[in-house]
Amino acid sequence: MKTRFAKLWQTARKYPTIMMSVVIISVLLGIAFYAMISIPFSEAALLWRGAENIWEDTPRLAAPIWFNAFRSEKLSETVNLTREDALITEEAVSATIRKETWVYEYDFPYATFPQEMKAFFTVSADDKNPLVKFTWVKPDGTTYQLGSMTASDGSRYGISADATVSREQFNNQPLQVELYRDPSSTTEEPAVLNGTYQFIAEVYHFTDSSEIEIQFVSFGEVYGIAGTDHLRRDLRIGLLWGTPFALMFGLLGAVGSTSITFLIAAIGSWYGGWLDAAIQRICEVRLQLPTLPILIMLGTFYSRSIFLILGVVIALDIFSSGIKTYRAMFMQVKNLPYIEAARAYGASNMRIIVRYMIPKVAPVLIPNFVTLIPTFVFLEASLALLNLGDPTAPTWGKILNDAYHAGALYRGYYYWVLEPALLLIFTGLAFSMLGFALDRILNPRLRRI
């Protein structure tokens, strides 16, 4: 057995396509395992559902951060600052009032304005919530007095959305532009003033036990290695977890349907008679049934669970045209002398099927099912695109579906479509290349000397 694999490996090494597909498949497997280990499914599902304001500190529809590598005018990145980044000073104002000053200082070397700016508060106070006053300092030293508010736990201050500030100080211009604008540029053609900005929050505590955490976010136009979607979700989660789903759907679908089809075809052709006839008739009826409408009906009226869909896809695929092909092969094998010899020495029917007929034809099957894997991966994506994807499962198809409904291509969010599409293409390419190469190795009719 060891030597057979060693031999197969020796042959495989001569095919560059095999080596390429092995690399791609290993990477995909690596991603799948990384996803499953680093983010447990329950957490991934929660993140993907986007419940309880999980995604409030990420920008909406931000491109991946590596976009900047290809641009001379860098898009604004997201600045997300918490206590560790703040310079905090405390002083007593009176016997009861305590003043805490949070100074967030950050560099802003980008060419475009951010989407918006927000401050989030976590407060623990007994009866009187602290009062917070905000100040904005531009790199050139210009200081703007922003609004003030009583910060309760979980509240936020929309810095760029403060209409009062905009009206009174900036002539109703959007604050995310005005607060970053180079004073030498016009409001019609604003330019970003690069340099070190300061966001200062002065907190007045009215009780001793009163405490506050302030998070400052300047929402950029790029975020993370995969970007975000219209619900501010990091696409990384969907792309990472889409990998195990795609591989599972592809492998289980292809292996499950092909091996069962194979076994049924073997049984049918071995026993013959009414059993074979029944299998052939079922297969013929099934071939007239359209797969997609059945799946659409199922998804619309019953359930969209990915496992149910997978099960039905396998069940429908069992009695497919494969049965006809394999039957033809088995009919040839069935009458070989060694099978008759096996019958003569009293091997049982199942023994003949499993030990004599299937191993003879199996080498032809292996490339077949490898090339079938992408079909199932694509099928899952197609179903998701048709709104039949499992809404709880983050899959590549679901990302494409979201992108489609949000008009991603029309609105120019190419990354949103290209990322899952490229992963799908690479998956398809890898398994197809492997399948075709294996076909040339294992199929005697294509074997070269």
């Binding site: 002398p337 010899a341 003569a344 020495y345 023994r351 030990r355 191993p359």
Partner: protein
């Protein structure tokens, strides 16, 4: 027809096997009755297409799907195996009582199994032995047929023709059945390998308790091995005699012609052949089936002769010897 019940190994009565084809019904085995004692070696001789292999199929119940008629009785150790269910027949008769060295024996080995596993298969199937135990026995029978046990781990395609043939014979021997049927065991082999295989078979026949049926169209190779000879023609037995009677003095005109067609070294003689072809088994002639090719034909040959026993013990189907 029964002689001594206890010494009889195999007895067939009115065995018929007809096949359905697109042209009609082929009467491949037509009313064959014969008895075989224990420790006997019977050579079944005849031209191609005279029903020899079909007789094997009928006895071993290896029926193709187009069977039209399968009737008569086959008694093995006085048990009518025709009455057993398919499953009982499989577990109790195949390879436990009777084994077969099939005609295309060269191709009778599974290409994806190692030869040892293949030869050991009957033991695993029938005696439910572990693989190790079965392989150990396979090594023994390999030695019996003169193949080194080193070859147990090889695949069929790594073996020469003679080696494969011996592996197949080893497989037939491994369960020590009462009867081994060899269907043209040497037909696809060269002369030297044939001689080698015949020597192996002779050795087995000398040392073991089994009975053998050799199916052959090659009379000379089996002459040394067989105790009795049985000539088939057009699906019927035409002569059944002891080896001395048969090889030295064949009575039936067809047997005589058959023997005359064999070249010998010692005497110089013109080799004979039989003009014409055996009759089509689709629609056999009503009278003697050999009549059309027989040079001793006479009026009576238009009616079918019965198979009958002569005073010297041989059975014959010919009006010339009708008492």
């Amino acid at each position: 027809m029964t002689t001594q019940a206890t010494s009889t190994l195999l007895r067939t009565e009115n065995l018929r096997l007809y096949f359905r084809t697109t042209q009609g019904v082929v009467q491949a085995v037509d009313d064959v009755s014969f008895t075989m004692p224990r420790r006997d070696a019977l050579a079944v001789i005849g031209e191609s297409g005279c029903g020899k292999t079909s007789l094997v199929r009928a006895i071993l119940r290896l029926l193709p799907s187009n069977v039209h008629t399968y009737s008569g009785n086959v008694f093995l150790n006085d048990i009518d195996v025709m009455k057993l269910s398919e499953e009982r027949f499989r577990t109790n008769v195949r390879w436990t009582k009777m084994s077969l060295v099939a005609q295309a024996a060269m191709n009778a080995l599974n290409p994806v199994l190692r030869v040892g596993e293949q030869v050991a298969e009957p033991l695993i199937v029938h005696q439910r032995l572990s693989k190790q135990a079965a392989l150990a026995q396979a090594a023994e029978v390999f030695q019996l047929v003169g193949v080194s046990p080193d070859f147990l781990g090889r695949y069929a395609f790594e073996l020469s023709g003679g080696m494969r043939q011996r592996a197949i014979i080893a497989m037939a021997l491994i369960t020590r059945p009462d009867l081994i049927v060899l269907d043209e065991p040497t037909s696809a082999l060269d002369m030297l390998t044939q001689a080698n295989i015949m020597n192996v078979l002779k050795g087995i026949k000398r040392d073991l308790e089994q009975s053998f049926i050799f199916i052959t169209h090659d009379v000379s190779t089996t002459s040394e091995l067989s105790d009795r000879g049985m000539v088939m023609y057009a699906g019927q037995i035409v002569e059944l005699a002891s080896a001395e009677q048969f090889y030295l003095d064949p009575l039936h005109p067809y047997s005589a012609k058959l023997m005359a067609s064999i070249p010998t070294l010692k005497e110089k003689k013109e080799l004979e052949f039989i003009p014409g072809q055996p009759p089509s088994l689709l629609n056999p002639p009503t009278g003697c089936r050999f009549a059309d090719r027989c040079d001793r034909r006479f009026d009576k040959c238009d009616t079918e002769p019965p198979l009958q026993q002569l005073a010297d013990g041989r059975w014959i189907r010919c009006w010339l010897y009708n008492k």
